[in-house]
C-alpha cells in the first residue's frame, strides 16, 4: 500500500496537528487505513455497522448517505459526525478522532493452529510476525482481514474477540462460530490452514475488564466465551481476586468447550465458578449440570439488586434477553458491559 505524498492527493488534517494524504475518490476510512490509522469497523467499510464515526467539521460533502442517515442521530448529523466509510475524499478534510485510534496497529501473523472446539466453533491461534507483539486489554477485539479465496474475489474484514490473555502478547487466539453462508466463516471453516499468513488490525473496543473490585457475573453463549476466557486468564495472571460467576449456555453437553481450562481456573482463582447450562441432553449423555436456556438459569440464580458488574457476550438475541433480566433486577446500565459490534 502506497502513501500519497503532499501535493499528490487530498490532505486530511487530524486533530489540528497531524496531516496525512490520500488519493481522491477513496473513502476516508480507507484513506486513514492507508496511513496506518485504523478506526473501528466491524463490517469492513460497507456502512452497515456504524462504528467508524468521525467528526468532520470541514471538507465533507454536505449530503449524508442513506447508510449515514440510518446510523446517525439528528444531533450527530448537526454536529458533523460522519461515517468514515461513507465520506469520499473529494476535497481536503479536517477531522477529529479520539487519540486511542493512533494506538491501533496492523499486524501480520502466521496461523499456528486451527482446530474445532465443537461442531460449529473453531479456534484459530495466530503467532505474530510483524510487529512481534501486541498490547491489548482483555475483552477487546481485532479486525481480521479475510483474503480473497477460490470463487470469492473480494477481501473483507471481520471483528472477532480475542480469547487469549494479554500476558501472551506474541499470540492472538480467536474462537469463531460458523455462520451459514458467511463470507468470513466459510473461509475460516473451509480454507484456512496452519502456516497461512494473515493480517489484522487492533486492538479495538471498550468491552474490557474494568479496574474496579466489584463482584462480576459473566454470561456467554457459544463463541461468546472468547472474551470471558481472556478476562479470566488475565485475572489469573494479574492475581485479581474478584468474585466471578460465569454462566455459559450451550446446546448440549458436547457443545461445551474449555471445560478443563474452566476447572483449572476454578482451582486457581479464589472465587470463580463456571456454571454451564445445556438446552437439551440425550438420555445417554451424563450431565449433572443445569438444563435450560442460560437466561433462565441467570434469572433464577442472580439475586435482585446485584451489586456487581455484568459482562455479556453471545448472540444478539441472548444479549437482548440478558439485558431485560438485568434491568428487571435493577442492575444499573453503567455496570453492564457488552460488545457494541454484536
Amino acid at each position: 500500500m502506497e502513501n500519497i505524498e503532499e501535493g499528490k492527493g487530498r490532505k486530511i488534517l487530524i486533530n489540528g496537528s497531524r496531516q496525512v494524504y490520500a488519493a481522491p475518490g477513496i473513502s476516508l476510512l480507507q484513506a486513514l487505513k492507508e496511513n496506518d490509522i485504523f478506526l473501528s469497523s466491524a463490517c469492513g467499510g460497507h456502512g452497515i455497522c456504524g462504528l467508524c464515526r468521525v467528526h468532520v467539521p470541514e471538507g465533507a460533502d454536505s449530503a449524508f448517505t442513506p447508510a449515514e442517515l440510518a446510523h446517525l442521530s439528528p444531533a450527530e448529523q448537526q454536529d458533523n459526525i460522519r461515517l468514515a466509510c461513507q465520506v469520499k475524499l473529494s476535497r481536503d478534510l479536517r477531522i477529529s478522532i479520539p487519540e486511542k485510534f493512533f494506538h491501533i496497529r496492523e499486524y501480520r501473523a502466521v496461523v499456528s493452529s486451527v482446530r474445532s472446539l465443537t461442531g460449529s466453533i473453531r479456534e484459530v491461534v495466530l503467532e505474530l510476525v510483524k510487529p512481534e507483539t501486541i498490547n491489548f486489554k482483555s475483552g477487546q477485539y481485532i479486525q481480521l482481514r479475510i483474503p480473497p479465496y477460490p470463487g470469492k474475489r473480494r477481501m473483507v474484514y471481520r471483528a472477532y474477540s480475542i480469547a487469549s490473555a494479554p500476558s501472551d502478547g506474541r499470540h492472538v487466539e480467536l474462537e469463531i462460530g460458523y455462520a451459514r453462508n458467511g463470507l468470513a466463516t466459510t473461509f475460516i471453516f473451509e480454507h484456512l490452514k496452519t502456516g497461512q499468513v494473515m493480517s489484522f488490525n487492533g486492538p479495538h473496543g471498550d468491552f474490557r475488564l474494568s479496574d474496579g473490585g466489584r463482584d462480576m457475573v459473566m454470561i456467554a453463549g457459544g463463541s461468546g466465551l472468547a472474551p470471558m476466557k481472556s478476562m479470566l486468564c488475565d485475572m489469573r495472571d494479574r492475581n485479581i481476586t474478584r468474585k466471578v460467576r460465569l454462566f455459559f449456555g450451550a446446546r448440549s453437553p458436547a457443545e461445551i468447550f474449555h471445560a478443563d481450562l474452566m476447572a483449572s481456573l476454578e482451582r486457581t482463582l479464589p472465587d470463580f465458578k463456571f456454571i454451564p447450562t445445556v438446552a437439551a441432553k440425550n438420555p445417554e449423555e451424563k450431565w449433572k449440570g443445569e438444563i435450560g436456556l442460560v437466561t433462565g438459569v441467570l434469572d433464577r440464580r442472580l439475586e435482585d439488586n446485584f451489586n456487581g458488574e455484568a459482562y455479556l457476550c453471545g448472540s444478539p438475541a441472548m444479549i437482548e434477553a440478558c439485558l431485560e433480566i438485568l434491568r428487571r433486577k435493577k442492575i444499573p446500565e453503567e455496570r453492564i458491559f457488552y460488545d457494541k459490534f454484536a
Binding site: 460497507h46 442513506p66 462460530g177 451459514r180 446446546r251 448472540s315 444478539p316 438475541a317 459490534f341
Partner: protein, 149 residues
Amino acid sequence: MTNSHDNDQMRPAVITCDGFLGTDDRPVEEIIRADDGTVKKIGLTHRAIAERMEYFSREAKKGLGEFVRLEPHFEAACEMARGFLSCPFGEPGKHRKAVVTLRNLRQKKEVIFSGLNVHLIAEHGFYEGKGSCFRLDPEELAKVLEIGG
C-alpha cells in the same frame, strides 16, 4: 417498493458468501416479475408472506438458538451470528445475521430463511435467484407457512 439495484451487490462475496442470484442467469427484474406473478396467482401479497415469516422469526428468537414449539403444529429455531448485513438493493439500514429454521410438523416440511429474506420479500418482492442458498419458492413457502389458499 424500491427495486433499483447495483448488480454487483447481488454477486458472491460482496454481502454474502454466495450472493443472491445462485445459478439463475435471469435479470433481477425478471426474477422478481416471475415470483410476483406466482404470488398474485395464489392470492397473496409479498407483505403478507413477510409478516408471517416475521412472526415465526420473532417467536423463534425467544429460543436463543433452540427450537420453540409454536401452535398448532410448528417449531422454529433462530440462529443468530454477530454482525449485520446490508440490503443488496442499497436501502439504508442493517439486518441482523439471523437464520430461521421453520418446521411444519403436520406437513413434515421445513424452510430456512434469513432476516434479510424477510426484508427482501416485504420491501422488494425478491425471493432470490434459483440455486441461491436462501432462494425461497413463493408457492412452496406459502404452503409451509400455511398462508393463503
